[in-house]
């Protein structure tokens, strides 16, 4: 009898309890590393907020409920649009967070904007996503990119670090003009970067010995690397987002190349990289988001807690944490979950996250600034990812080069 009463109470209480939650869909390719970190970062944010009593919406405490949506976007774009439609119309979520493959995110952006749902992008770097906001504000204003910075701004960080590595080579090897080989996967996002590198490097007193553009999914780059070897490059300037990054890291090590790799190597940001390259990727360096350094006051606690909970370091898609924290802040300040009000608030706010200090421009992209949104540079040294740039941040270590 008591159980029956309890059941009846629960039955009536359940809708009430549900109404109390704020539903956030986490969209990502859940069978893959990117999706896994999307979800992990979101879970950390949820647990932290809910443990502290939830989100204060105009005086009422509401818990956060996550909806896990496998977009399968790496394998199928229609699957991704189906998934986002499902969470919006079936699960009736309030907010959307995530996305990774630019082609799929563009299609998902359309569905979200049709439904006027706030969509915080975490993962896709393509500038077209932000350009939409600028060109058609009324339709696309519900899109924000919380991570990473747009592709064009990545160039600024890359050249800044390249300059300091070049200086180190000048000192160590007593050469005036270090030789740089550009190794960029063939893709739209690298196009501007490659052109900028070819133009700017001579100004930085570096010589470009050639540009190689393998496919993003190439598993074999021996031909490219032996050509680079022959050209006598000191630095291999990489722009790789696909699995080709692993092949480059591993095969450079296997050949015992004296050149050092710097640039973007998305696979190199992952903890699994060292193992995937079979321990051969010594001194490969890349732009990254998270490391145990005091980038923002929140970085170290977050990275440590993440490591303790999931037994691995976060990659940049774990910035779903920042996205949800930003949402919580916005909802509490605005006092409601109304998307238009939240958009107006986020446009003005400066949010101190774990991976960046975020302010947004008119494309709803992160405003680039060293030490705020530039990210950090890391190098693989004996199986550990060691941060070495920007130099003014506490906890940085020296950049190393293979012995000649």
């Amino acid at each position: 009898m008591r159980r029956a009463i309890l059941g009846v109470i629960l039955l009536f209480a359940a809708p009430l309890a549900l109404a109390q939650t704020i539903k956030i869909a986490i969209l990502g390719p859940m069978s893959f590393v990117q999706g896994e970190h999307h979800w992990n970062g979101a879970e950390m944010a949820r647990d932290e907020i809910n443990k502290a009593g939830g989100v204060n919406v105009g005086g009422k405490r509401r818990q956060i409920e996550l909806v896990r949506a496998d977009t399968n976007e790496i394998q199928s774009v229609p699957d991704a649009t189906n998934a986002i439609e499902r969470v919006i119309t079936r699960d009736k979520v309030d907010f959307l967070v995530g996305g990774f493959r630019s082609e799929a995110v563009l299609a998902m952006q359309e569905v979200a904007m049709d439904n006027k749902k706030l969509f915080l992008g975490v993962g896709a770097a393509h500038s077209k996503l932000g350009l939409n906001v600028e060109q058609n504000y009324d339709r696309y204003k519900y899109w924000f990119r919380v991570s990473p910075t747009k592709d064009v701004d990545l160039a600024r960080t890359l050249f800044a670090v390249l300059g300091s590595i070049g200086q180190q080579i000048r000192n160590d090897l007593k050469t005036d003009t270090p030789k740089v080989a550009i190794l960029a996967e063939k893709a739209v996002w690298t196009e501007g970067l490659v052109a900028a590198a070819q133009k700017n490097l001579p100004a930085l007193k570096m010589e470009v010995v050639g540009t190689w553009q393998p496919s993003a999914v190439a598993t074999d780059v021996t031909a490219e690397l032996s050509a680079i070897d022959r050209a006598g490059a000191h630095i291999v300037f990489t722009m790789l987002s696909g699995p080709v990054g692993i092949s480059v890291g591993r095969q450079m090590g296997e050949r015992g190349m004296k050149a050092v790799a710097w640039g973007i190597n998305v696979e190199g940001q992952k903890e699994e990289f060292w193992q995937a390259a079979a321990g051969k990727a010594q001194f490969v360096s890349t732009l990254d988001t998270y490391s145990e350094v005091e980038y923002t006051p929140k970085t170290i606690p977050f990275v440590r807690a993440y490591q303790a909970r999931f037994k691995k370091a976060p990659t940049y898609t774990a910035a779903t944490y920042d996205a949800i924290m930003l949402l919580k802040d916005a909802i509490e300040k605005v006092g409601s979950t109304n998307a238009d009000q939240i958009v107006a608030y986020i446009e003005k706010v400066e949010h101190v996250g774990t991976g960046s200090v975020a302010t947004f421009d008119k494309r709803h992209d992160l405003v680039w600034a060293v030490g705020k949104t530039s990210g950090i540079a890391v190098q693989w040294q004996d199986g550990k990812k060691v941060p070495f740039w920007p130099p003014n941040v506490k906890g940085m270590q020296p950049f190393k080069m293979p012995a000649r």
């Binding site: 540009t211 190689w212 021996t222 032996s226 095969q251 696979e267 390259a277 079979a278």
Partner: protein, 289 residues
Amino acid sequence: MLQDILVTGLVNGGVYALLAIGFSLIFGVARIVNIAHTAFYMLAAYCFYTLLTRGGLGFALAGVVAVVSVVALSLLCYRLVIEPVREHESAVLISTIALGLIFQELMLVAYGGHFLGVPSTIDGVVRLAGVSIPYQRLLILVVAAVMLAATWFFLYHTRTGLAIRATANDLEVANLMGMNVHRVAMVTVGFSVGLAAIAGVVATPVTSVHPHMWLDPLVIMLAIVVLGGLGSLKGSVIGALIIAYVEAITVFTLPEGAHLKGVAALGIMVAVLLARPEGLFGVAFEEER
């Protein structure tokens, strides 16, 4: 640059040849277009990886166990899935596609979409004509050469090999002559999947292991066997070398077009087919109808 092209092409051609001759053999004997062929290559790689890094077995033992178990699995699949629908060509075709997908998804579930690295069997590089070549690649070349020789010996100097060639030549007559064509088909499947598994074991240390690793070699392998002529072993070997050299030449002469190496390889295949619809060494099917 010439020596770079020569060496790179030769080394890559070795792996391609290992995959292509197995596929060609199955097609020649059993007339199965085995889309899952490279999926077995992938399974062998996973198996080898697991035994080596998690099971703590040595290279040789892990390799042998991986090859044997993948061959056993392939025979099981053949028995359970392919044989019941043998008469229906299209059903066989999509069964092999479905098998490939199943293996891919199973690996995705078991290991996730991670890229896994298999340690090199032998470390170090050798410098040859000014080109540095990792020993692992030389090993691949040697294994490929040995396996090619073994295949040749098996087909031309054993009774089973004779049976296989006879069946490939004319299945019905072979059957009438009292050969057990089903058993011949089984042996062929086992043997060619074995070749693919060996390729998986020796070649994965130069790439990485992941659930979609079977698709790229699949396309290249199909291009090779079509180029060389379906069912022809000589064609497969020469086709493998052609494709590997086309890729190497593309990368070395056109660095900014390195991503086009696959396109160049496929383009060569189409060009050859335009001139010779049955491939370089294929048998014209005109009279067979």
